[in-house]
Amino acid sequence: MTDSKYFTTNKKGEIFELKAELNNEKKEKRKEAVKKVIAAMTVGKDVSSLFPDVVNCMQTDNLELKKLVYLYLMNYAKSQPDMAIMAVNSFVKDCEDPNPLIRALAVRTMGCIRVDKITEYLCEPLRKCLKDEDPYVRKTAAVCVAKLHDINAQMVEDQGFLDSLRDLIADSNPMVVANAVAALSEISESHPNSNLLDLNPQNINKLLTALNECTEWGQIFILDCLSNYNPKDEREAQSICERVTPRLSHANSAVVLSAVKVLMKFLELLPKDSDYYGTLLKKLSPPLVTLLSGEPEVQYVALRNINLIVQKRPEILKQEIKVFFVKYNDPIYVKLEKLDIMIRLASQANIAQVLAELKEYATEVDVDFVRKAVRAIGRCAIKVEQSAERCVSTLLDLIQTKVNYVVQEAIVVIRDIFRKYPNKYESIIATLCENLDSLDEPDARAAMIWIVGEYAERIDNADELLESFLEGFHDESTQVQLTLLTAIVKLFLKKPSETQELVQQVLSLATQDSDNPDLRDRGYIYWRLLSTDPVTAKEVVLSEKPLISEETDLIEPTLLDELICHIGSLASVYHKPPNAFVEGSHGIHRKHLPIQHGSIDTGESPVSTGPTAALDQPQVIPSQGDLLGDLLNLDLGPPVNVPQVSSMQMGAVDLLGGGLDSLVSPKPCIFSVSQILKKVFVRVFWSQVLLRLHCFVFLCSFGVIPTTPLPIHTPLMPNQSIDISLPLSTIGPVMKMDPLNNLQVAVKNIIDVFYFSCLIPLNIFFVEDGKMERQVFLVTWKDIPNENELQYQIKECHLNADTVSGKLQNNNIFTIAKRNVEGQDMLYQSLKLTNGIWILAELRIQPGNPNYTLKIGASLFLSLQAYRPIDRSSVYKVVLEGCQT
């Protein structure tokens, strides 16, 4: 006979009948009745009114009946809190039962009665059970502490249960240890003390010992707990790794992933050049691959995590691309993830295979998968330059299939390929244009329009093509409208004579017939630009754009690090930090990777001037080409247009003039220097509507960055300007600029990113301790090989040697020695840059002759080869010009 009969009770008067049966004299009848009640509860009927009758059956020596009554209690205690009290006595009594199964059952159920009133009665029984002689009872009691903490955290703490739990970590029974760890970890998630488990080397050792003996689930709790530990040094990290590594061979995939998490975290602490580091990396790959032979859901979790691991440490799986090839019967979620990882692992070495696979996938039937495959081909082209040509021809093949969504997706990625490799594949434009009519998705239409606009001069009928889109302008999506506007403006600037009418048309459509504020604004911008100064308009609109970068969908590094700490968890599946999807987790510590001890934290020191620091940083090595031309064309005569303290209007003049420049880009002017503070201040004038500014990024050869956020708190109005003093330091990213003293600035607001650049007077980078010791100077000067020296003339400088020397000294160019040779004054000078580079010079001044001769030599601290003399002269030139007023 089966239990299913209990589900088939009659409807009318059911409760009444059950009530009678529950109070039947015969034990068997009562049990049957309780089963019927549970069956009713299971199918969702409300049987809470039977509460007192069911609780009456609690006092029984029949274990099965007791379990059923307890089950009922857990379900309805909350809705009948007053009556739940009736059960307390029974719990207290059962916790003393000679049978450990009953003691455990009582303590397990107690914690599930989520009624605040009765929890306090349960403390004493729980205390006893935590010290029970039977491990089965202790392990159940350990979990009960976590349950009570969830109901009444303060009480659990006051009663000292957390200490009891911590004591259980040293229990002789592995299952008790594992449950104590699980309970403590659970509690610590909502507890202000993040080190609730008191992780110290002794406790870690206990956990590692228990790891070998407990069940697979216990191993997971322990590993997850271990991953929160920060070993004090690399030795400790390595010894823990050594004891965790065997878990990679466990059959349970969750054990494997938790072990991977511990190892990925502790890898951070191991020196990269050690043998052990390399061995460990090698050991991680096979278990990750094996996870892909698991059930599809396990594969999915594995793939989402591998996606993170591949971004964090690409070397682990770089040889394994084949295992990510898609199988026909993979579920769609597995297919899409595999595809993503294939792209991340694509390299010159495997690109042929990858492309062959992608082409295969692109002919499948699942639309989402096919689209992603086509996109993947485009990403390969952008990522692996050598494969670009092959990718393009594969995409062309796919376009020939005429499968509509394939064609559209292909056109979108081809646009991006054009943005990465401009002027390289425009021969295929004709083929693309053939498909114009079949494009019905905004993305694809916009991509095609962009291509036509960008290459308008090479497409004979570009005007016709764009005009055809114009007909249904108002039915297009905003994206297409904006692209079309820009494309027609580009076309006009390239072929002004034939397209005047077209551009008029689009401008009036955008500005007069549209409600869309973005479209109108952009329309007006173009309109005014074109009517004010077409030449400048051409420069602005058709100027070269930066190439798009290789990987666009990488997870931001700090988030990636955080997610690595959550390997195996939902956060790693969603690629979101836990506080993004767990309620009430905002106050909780965010996890981060351990930091290697002893590493230099450069974030503190404002300017690194020492030679060692300078050597740590990548040196700025300007290329010769353009700079050389620049220099030779420049008149080294009397300086006029150099920004000075007094000439700060220079930037302002431009801006206040209201010219086109001020419309498209804000211009700053760097004007003052505080050398004592080793800080540079910048004053910026804005004339653009900047609204709220989000961030402010500097790029320059000397690593200049602002040390505070941009202090603009209210939106700026058109033509409003504002002065800002911004403390700067030179600890930012170093990027070689051309010319060397160029500063690129990006300002982001909600509309867009604005870029501009300006020249920084180089002398602000000269540090005060740039005076070289006489002896050192002599030796260094002599050691400079001839080919590293440069000599040239500075014309029309009517100052005597002492005045020059004094002026230069004010700018931290120090005269080390002065002598008079045959009536000429020879000044020997040194200066040092913020990045530690030394520059030596000899200045020859003939009284009465306004032309000086300058000889410059290389620094002591650099690779002489890398540092070309011509660059030094440019440095010096700027200095001299800057100082001579």
Binding site: T42, K78, R114, S249, S253, P287, P296
Partner: protein
Amino acid sequence: DAAKRILGVLICRNYKGDVDMAEIDHFLPLLLQQEEEGLLSPAITRGNVHFLWIKHSNLYLVATTNKNSNAALVYAFLYKLVEVFTEYFKELEEESIQDNFVVVYELLDELMDFGFPQTTDSKILQEYITQEGNKLEVAKSKVPTTVTNAVSWRSEGIKYKKNEVFIDVIESINVLVNANGSVMSSDIVGSIKLKTMLSGMPELRLGLNDRVLFTLTGRDKGKSVAMEDVKFHQCVRLSRFENDRTISFIPPDGESELMSYRINTHVKPLIWIESVIERFSHSRVEIMVKAKGQFKKQSVANNVEIKVPVPSDADSPKFKTSTGHAKYVPEKNLVVWTIKSFPGGKEFLMRAHFGLPSVENDEKEAKPPITVKFEIPYFTVSGIQVRYMKIIEKSGYQALPWVRYITQSGDYQLRTNS
């Protein structure tokens, strides 16, 4: 792992009480919606509740949580549930749950507590949770010490008249062949299964011709096998294996999978398929399939099944085979060519002819690959061998190990040109 609900409306168990029981009602509509949009995912979110689900025959096993739970653990646990229920009830289906709901509740209580998985070894569970619950038995009222022991998978006091252990070495070949005949990927997934019929608490040691072990001990590497990755049952001492590659363990009683391994070496596909599928629009499809046994002449592949895809609108099949027989399975759009016994080195041919309707459906059709199923007894493709199985029990009995080898097809796919 806030609350684990099993079988949706069939039966639920709320372990933590932090997810509303009514939330589960949203699961199925969400799932169906995702399915329709083609964006199916094993983790579905609604508000702050996450549904992690697996499907077993026509049942969904769903875990709900509102925390950043260990997803890997959740899926492993759900599959464990299937395993335990299947061992208890033979079939896990709606009926067996209803028929045994009292035991199911008892099991759910024992398997997990407050979202933490506990004892999931069905053999041990069966010692104190039985289906004959109507009678109160002595055995049932005591917790077996095994539950909390370090050896949590084997009970004490097991007795057999004849002590034997049967070892099955099963290797599955996974192959993916491109339409132009090049092997895109291939690997071997091996599994060593035990049927243990041993008394007491025996200590076992399994010796394989493992290349790493041979290298460690300085033996001839010639006949050894390099295993890329190895996974062991809970019972194997992992640290010991990590140290000196010794596979030592106290086995669970009865049947269990002791270990599995993966081998990367490029294997020649044991059954090679060449196919020509020609489609003449509006008239017919001609299929020619050639199968070749690329294994030793002494060996025989049994129960070979070669499944060839055909267009969904094909009709009036005609077949010709040089051996075995071919059958059209219209509901799966397949021709299944069955060969009972396929000796190594032999080559067979199958031709099929289908008519196509003059009005074709213009929907693009999927391109399923040809798949092959087979098994070859007495042979492992990797050459792995059980060198010894040492069995030591303190009572000192003699026990016999029996070894059997078999190679079979795993995920065996050959893409076609059609």
